[in-house]
């Protein structure tokens, strides 16, 4: 029920509506809860609404942290 997914905005429409691409499936969602969204932004979509924007820089930071761990620890974990 609470599951919401990151999706990319591919088109802006009137009345606070937009189209997102979800692994090739296009879906119309509402932007009534978020401001300043442009095409190419990722938003977290839940029950047809964008809850807020996803920050690509923060995502990259989290992934970099994981990658570092993977490199340091994976060999000892695998062998």
């Amino acid at each position: 029920m609470c599951l919401a997914i990151p999706a990319r905005i591919v088109e802006l429409r009137s009345d606070d509506l937009a189209v997102v691409d979800l692994a090739g499936v296009k879906k119309e969602i509402s932007l009534a809860l978020v401001d300043n969204v442009v095409v190419g932004d990722y938003v977290i979509v839940h029950v047809g609404y964008a809850l807020n924007k996803l920050d690509p820089e923060e995502a990259a930071k989290t992934l970099a942290l994981f990658a570092e761990l993977g490199q340091l620890d994976a060999p000892s974990a695998v062998h």
């Binding site: 990722y42 029950v47 995502a59």
Partner: protein, 374 residues
């Protein structure tokens, strides 16, 4: 998919597991509760518990909106459809929740009730617009993630001047549920839950921000780490919690910084404040009546309030006597401790709330973890 697959990488998961193993002090035990059903689901589905050392245990909390919806509320929705002849719209997850007289919304539909599954609150408004001769009621449930969309729908109906749209509002608040877990009398009755920290909600926090949890960290000395719903997010959060416990800290940290900040979505918060106000009391399934734990529609929007428009008194209905949901939702017992688990109570025929949605502790354990204990 971008921003999903990268957070499910198996190699990185092994690296994280190793890091957790290294950091967890073998001399002590760690008990963390994940509040959200989304986390429960991720932990069961990706076998996160198997990657953790034996002294790190996850406890499944009450954070699934379908699981905490009391029977009496579903009864109200069913009555609206069967006795008041309304078109009742709701999210798909609500349809199978067991209600009184062996009914559910799905079974009420089979009896002729006009019950429709909608994907979004906006669909319910559109349905009312298209059918001016029918009363359309949106059965609105959920935590802080689904509340802003309901607020938007009510404002939209007001702008359109709809006379045939109303909302049965059952929206509940996350922080109150966490308080009740920490200080309810039942905890005393069942014994204390050995909780060393919380994994904080993911999408709820995109709306309310991380600030509301600061109270728990300070007042109850419990660390909180807000985490995304992917398995790597959960593992990293566990690692951050272990670190806080080891260092004797109790702070709010944010693993899900790609979507959550301290303040949350102010636009959504403002919309919610405009349309809703606190209820003094609200019954939660498995957690009893919790003060100031839910929302109702403000009087300015009374004409869109189904509880005002229709004769709907609330009748509390007790859970099945043998069902242990109450203890499970508070982390005192595990699904396999319930006599009904997997025999009388299954996802096809749920007796208690924890078995209803795939995010419930019993259903998650039934689907993904059942054979591990055999």
């Amino acid at each position: 998919m971008k921003y999903i697959d990268e957070f499910r990488d198996g190699e990185v998961a092994r690296g994280l597991a190793e890091a957790i193993r290294r950091e967890a002090n073998p001399e002590r035990r760690y008990h963390f509760m994940e509040f959200c059903g989304g986390h429960t689901h991720a932990i069961s589905r990706y076998g996160v518990s198997d990657l953790l050392p034996d002294n790190v245990k996850m406890i499944h909390g009450p954070g699934c909106p379908v699981c905490v919806l009391p029977i009496g509320r579903v009864d109200q929705a069913i009555r609206l459809a069967l006795e008041n002849g309304v078109t009742l719209c709701t999210y798909g997850d609500c349809l199978r929740v067991p209600a009184s007289d062996s009914l559910s919304l799905l079974k009420a539909k089979a009896r002729g009730g006009d019950i429709r599954m909608v994907y979004s609150s906006a669909d319910a408004v559109a349905l009312a617009q298209k059918n001016p001769d029918k009363q359309v009621v949106f059965f609105a449930i959920g935590f802080e993630t689904t509340t802003p969309p309901t607020a938007v729908a009510i404002k939209q109906a007001a702008t359109l001047g709809l006379k045939n749209f109303s909302v049965l509002c059952c929206h509940v608040l996350t922080p109150s549920a966490i308080s009740s877990i920490l200080e309810s009398p039942e905890v005393r009755q069942w014994g204390t839950v050995p909780l060393d920290g919380f994994i904080g909600p993911a999408h709820v926090s995109t709306i309310i921000g991380s600030r509301p949890y600061e109270f728990f960290a300070e007042e109850y000395r419990k660390p909180v780490v807000i985490a995304g719903f992917e398995p790597l997010d959960v593992m990293q959060a566990i690692r951050m919690l272990i670190r806080q416990v080891n260092e004797g800290r109790a702070e709010v940290e944010n693993e899900f910084s790609r979507a959550v900040d301290r303040d949350g979505n102010k636009k959504a918060q403002q919309l919610v404040a405009e349309v809703f106000e606190m209820r003094k009391n609200f019954e939660w399934r498995g957690l009893n009546i919790l003060p100031y734990s839910a929302l109702r529609i403000r009087s300015q929007f009374a004409e869109f309030d189904a509880e005002k428009r229709f004769p709907l008194d609330y009748q509390p209905v007790p859970d099945h006597k043998a069902c242990e949901c109450g203890a499970i939702l508070r982390g005192v017992k595990r699904p396999q401790d319930c006599k009904l688990f997997g025999t009388v109570c299954t996802p096809e025929n749920p007796i208690g709330s924890c078995m209803v949605s795939s995010e419930g502790a019993c259903a998650a354990h039934y689907t993904y973890g059942r054979y591990k204990d055999v």
